[in-house]
Amino acid sequence: MVNGMERGVRRIVFGALSTVTVVVLLFGYRTSTEGPATTAALPAITPVTTTESSDTTGPSTPTTTQTPTATQTPTATQTTQAPKATQTTQAPKATQAASSPKTVTGDQEQTQWGPVQVELTISDGSITDVAVPVYPSGNGRDAEINSYALPQLVQETISAQSANIDMISGATVTSDGYLRSLQSALDKAGL
């Protein structure tokens, strides 16, 4: 099943991964996700321009061959966090057939950043707006503090057009599929 070339591929990749664990130790994954304070620290991607003639002779073992025994085992650290039970949240019930818009205010939910409360405006049985009147913004001046509220489930009837949404997160939209996507509609509205 596995021919010579495939073995070569495997070796290269496995070799790569043993090197890689060392890299993890050195930098941690935060290196790629630092905020603006460290923006200047990382070099731009520099595609290698040299020829690799000497490299084509076969898979070479990485120069750094420390065995990654000392790698921190992320699974262990992760499991020390108290697992929070998942909760299935019911979408707030909308009263039917209200001809005039109606506002439903949800219960305050505690998040690690503070309380969050959601307010839905319902018109003709569908949600026309989702507002967040109580939002954990801390002291208000701490820019760049990571913060987001819990996802708020909405009714099945909600359409993106009526939900006052800025962006759409979904399964990867290809360029081909983009024209039919909700994000495309939003982008057009703002161009």
Binding site: E6, A16, T39, E52, E144, S175
Partner: protein
């Protein structure tokens, strides 16, 4: 600064790279001036650079040449190591369900780090946008995004697409500073599998993760999706926040709050 949240007009930009649309929304001081356009151009240039190194569709990318055994890691940019390191970390943390090594139908393995690259690349591309003073942005690559909104402006409101009805959304996430990523098969077919079995998930329709940064959000969403029926419990156990839409239409919010 008043207590009133100000509504600021949103300016939007779209370009295509890596086979997917890149959407940018800007609001605040720099939305259409030279600073904004320069930052947008720089963001796109970063993504094109990433594509040249990492694309599995381009036969001349470093990843493709590495996969064919034509070059070694030593001949690759250090960023490739960083991406492989991230992939390895999530492989371990997902018990092997996520892996940058992808088996094909014939049983051979290929290097495909694209599950890592997108979120990582968007975080890099967003750097010039973060430097725009008094400007909010949301940068999305094919539905996965990094967002920043100043304390005095409204949080970005990110709709989560319904994988079972692509014209609808299942949830809304207000994001002030963070990232949202969704994994599913709704638009590209069976491109995510459990690396341990090669099987395409059937119980879960999509997984959305909200996190501080898009590297974590994207990897968590993809790994959770590969874990199929275990998606929600895995996310909860690692303290992640998100939404799982099951194939039968149930929606489940996973909360990282301390309760």
């Amino acid at each position: 600064m008043s207590a009133v949240v100000t509504e600021r007009p949103v300016r939007r930009y779209v370009e295509h790279v890596m086979g997917m649309p890149i959407s940018l929304a800007l609001r605040g001081r720099h939305t259409a001036d030279a600073a904004a356009l320069d930052a947008w151009a720089e963001a796109m240039a970063t993504l094109r650079d990433v594509d040249r190194v990492f694309s599995t569709y381009r036969t001349d990318s470093h990843v493709s040449r590495l996969d064919r055994g034509e070059i070694t890691l030593a001949a690759c940019p250090p960023e490739l190591l960083e991406v492989l390191a991230l992939g390895e970390r999530w492989r371990q943390e997902s018990g092997g369900a996520f892996d940058v090594r992808r088996g094909d139908a014939s049983g051979s393995f290929h290097l495909d780090p694209s599950g890592v690259v997108k979120g990582w690349a968007v975080e890099r591309a967003a750097r010039p946008l973060r430097l725009l003073a008094d400007t909010d942005f949301c940068l999305s690559a094919g539905g996965d995004m990094a967002c920043v909104a100043a304390p005095e402006s409204a949080p970005w409101r990110v709709g989560i697409e319904d994988p079972l009805d692509l014209d609808a959304v299942v949830a809304v996430v207000p994001v002030r500073c963070g990232a949202v990523a969704t994994s599913g098969l709704a638009r590209r077919g069976a491109h995510i599998t459990d690396a341990r079995t090669g099987r395409v998930p059937t119980r879960v329709a999509s997984v959305t993760v909200v996190a501080d940064d898009l590297v974590r959000a994207d990897l968590d969403a993809t790994a959770a999706f590969a874990l199929d029926a275990e998606a929600a419990t895995w996310l909860a156990a690692r303290g992640s926040t998100g939404v799982v839409v099951w194939a039968d239409g149930r929606r489940e919010v996973v909360s990282a709050g301390r309760g």
